[in-house]
């Protein structure tokens, strides 16, 4: 993630230490990224302990004041655990870790990370998780849909949303969402793993490009 933001996108990128408590110096032109990984080993439930990291209160405050927060994989799990995004990520339906390329259909371009995509665009982006099955209650799902908060659904290479194309059994094939204010977004797939020609796939780069433009607008 540091590599893609810094080297590929040529943006200034700062590492934040989980024990810090302040995000002083960051403003709405910045984006706090919670990358993938296994926070605290995730022996309990993914993200369940990380939400109590000292830095997380500052992240929540930053989000509530309108700053962009992007959670990818474990970051998405932490955002759900900390209440910045609705829902939870359950164990994959097959009870196994899954690492592979999947296809995502862009469900809305009305978000800071999809603004440069086209509606219905299909992106090939890998997943790598054991707990990525998005779930929420019916009322929340309805809200997500009504408010256009579903960013991505798992699909076939042709863009059809089918059971077979849903790698982890996610509710309504959801791969990524944003909050109602559209400044906090989370997704299980890893766009940073497919943003360079050297890795043979650049489908993820458009999300970073979208975000850059969104940040520039709010500056």
């Amino acid at each position: 993630m540091m590599h893609v933001i810094g080297q590929v996108m040529q943006q200034e990128v700062t590492k934040l230490w989980h024990k810090d408590k302040s995000l002083a110096g960051f403003d709405t032109g910045d984006c706090i990224v919670l990358p993938g990984g296994f926070s605290y080993g995730d022996y309990l439930r993914a993200g369940a302990i990380a939400r109590f990291s000292p830095i997380m209160q500052a992240v929540i405050d930053f989000a509530n004041s309108g700053g962009y927060v992007w959670g990818i994989c474990n970051g998405f799990q932490i955002l759900c655990e900390s209440g910045l995004l609705p829902g939870v990520l359950l164990r994959n339906q097959n009870q196994q870790f899954i690492c592979k390329n999947v296809f995502l259909r862009v469900e809305t371009t009305h978000s800071p990370i999809t603004s440069h995509t086209t509606p219905g665009q299909v992106l090939k982006i890998p997943i790598a998780h054991a707990e990525g099955r998005y779930h929420t209650d019916e009322a929340t799902l309805r809200q997500l849909i009504d408010n256009d908060q579903v960013l991505f659904r798992y699909c076939t290479p042709q863009g059809e949303v089918t059971e077979a194309a849903n790698p982890n059994g996610a509710l309504d094939h959801i791969a990524g969402i944003c909050n109602a204010q559209r400044n906090v977004f989370g997704m299980m797939p890893h766009p940073e793993r497919c943003s360079e020609g050297a890795l043979g796939n650049t489908d993820g780069k458009v999300l970073f490009e979208s975000l850059l433009q969104a940040s520039a607008v709010t500056l």
Binding site: Q7, F97, L199, G200
Partner: protein
Amino acid sequence: MHAVEPQVTVEIAQQLGLTPDEFQRIQQIMGRIPNFTELSIFSVMWSEHCSYKNSILWLKTLPREGERLLVGAGEENAGLVDIGNGLACAFKIESHNHPSAIEPYQGAATGVGGIHRDIFTMGARPIAALNSLRFGNPELNHTRQLVKGVVHGIGDYGNCFGVPTVGGEVYFYDCYNQNILVNAMSAGIVEVGKTVSAIAEGKGNPVFIVGSATGKDGIHGATFASADLTEDSAEDLPSVQVGDPFQEKLLLEASLEAIQTGAVVGMQDMGAAGITCSTSEMSAKGGVGMRIDLSLVPTRQSNMRPFEILLSESQERMLIVGKKGQEQLLLDVFEKWDLQCAQIGEVIDGGRLEFYYEGEKVADVPAESLVLGGGAPVYKRDYTKPAYLDEIEKFSLSKIPVPLNYEATARQLLTSPNLVSKRWVYEQYDSMVRTNSMSTNAPSDAAIVRVKNTNTALALTTDCNSAYVYADPYIGAMIAVAEAARNIVCSGGQPVAITNCLNFGNPYNPEVYWQFVHAIKGMGEACRRFDTPVTGGNVSFYNQTVLKDKTEPVYPTPTIGMLGVLDDASLVMTLSFKSAGAQIYMIGTPSNDLGSSEYFRHVHGIVYSPAPHFDLNEEYQVQQVIAALISKQYIDSAHDVSEGGLFLALLESAMAGGLGFDIETDANFRKDAYLFGESQSRIVVSVKPENEDELVNHLNANNVSFTRLGEVIAHQIIIDEENFGTLTSWQEHYHNFLGSMMSH
């Protein structure tokens, strides 16, 4: 209150795995009868696992020098190779067979953890993991449980630790029904000159234990790894360690940061034989001793006895010798990463290891007497040619019927778990984390991992077809090296060095030792030919299962982990067919050879047949030609012919490219041998029509045998004008067969 230690006798020594002669020798070294704690120290350090006592004479015959080697074989925890740009690659493979056979999840997980520690204890950051696995018959429920446990263990540990598992191999043979093999490899990157040695130096320098607390897990693990696996081995469960990958991640970051402070003199991870091994090896290396107070070691439970603390194989621990006066720098780093860092002693002159517990000296032994190259025993073993080789020599191809229906035979062949995709396995591993894996979207014969901020990429592979080694240990081991080199060359890399994991049966069995000796000879010869010196690795003997009525050694399995380098990562070669209309060539010589093929085993049930045809010089020449074709950019794809023969090589290139092929066989050969034979030194390439002349001219000029097979087409598989069905029909089966087998 100390529990009373047993009175030391020759019987006690034997229970700890020492021979009466060894016990005698220990008394000579000590000048007295050792106490139980001291005897325990000798027993683990002189175990096969730590001492290499039955293998070292032969290991020394392997080529161990090369231009790029920055440390000699066995000098440090892992081999270190110059990869240019001021960087070096530390890499090593190691076995964790017995623990995995007893407790597959933890056994495999801690195998992964252990090999990564070997890399980062040198100051290198691991960037890639591979593993080489051998299981028994997958029809058996027992096997499937082992497979699931091992794969889950490797996945959970590696995924959480955050290093991609980029390659490896999985084989299924009945000989591994009880004694599976789990060999894990790691490769890491470090700046040249910034490595840390596993050495203790400087009287008065502090000795720290860092990382996890010490518990009772894995006590006598090294001894356990040095004995036959029996039906009662499951009762040895406390010998299996438990892994904590997040702790390992913290230990990695803290260790690398500690090195940056300049306050580290030496560092060694704790694997087999825990504190005992790390203190004695670091001391012996520096020609010093240590005074250690075991009561200062953070423990997981109370009332651990001194010998238990000494022998514990609790994971995620390191021994660090720091610089006196700079202790606080180290303490601060480990505090930052929430890791324990306890000073447990200091370096002393005189070469003795003095262990204290609650004010009392509990052991006092000379460090040098314990270690390989020092006082550890070295044995020359007798060997005799195994009787089963006579069976193999009697084999005659002419008695084997040829298939009536080749499509049906090919489909039957692809119900061998050894030939189908291992997707079910590798999708459970994070193969992409750290965003360096170039093979995810464009597979090659080796795994390609770029080195960020350079033009360089590493090519990594593990290879060993143990059925070949069983049929002919000398040729089989040569083939293992040759195939590894071939995989790297077909990926556009230059083979640089190997690490080996030598899995054999009981060395006291002269037939097993014959296999070992001949495999080492073959390996050495091949490594010299390819200029790929051996940088280290490990020996795992006693891989056999003692059943009620017989002993069953595994196939001799000298796994080769090879490192290759691509100085220009953009010249990577991949295995997929790229476009319909491309011409398909086979470089190398076809032959009427089905020796030790999967076709023989799976379709005909033939276990005893010779190793496939192999000639070292022919192999070398073919590889040189492929390397030239790749650098001249004449070819679109390269894929070596291995298990499953030409047919499977073609099918794999087709599936990877989403294209079909239309080829013709040669009537001068048995068609089954042509399609399914595993005769070595053959590579399938595809070439655009406009480059075909250049290709052919180059091959002619270099006097290499080649055959034009046919061309790449859309969707269909056609051989000798017979339609073998659509690509999709093969693809679905190929990718899903193992998964459906595992879900039984």
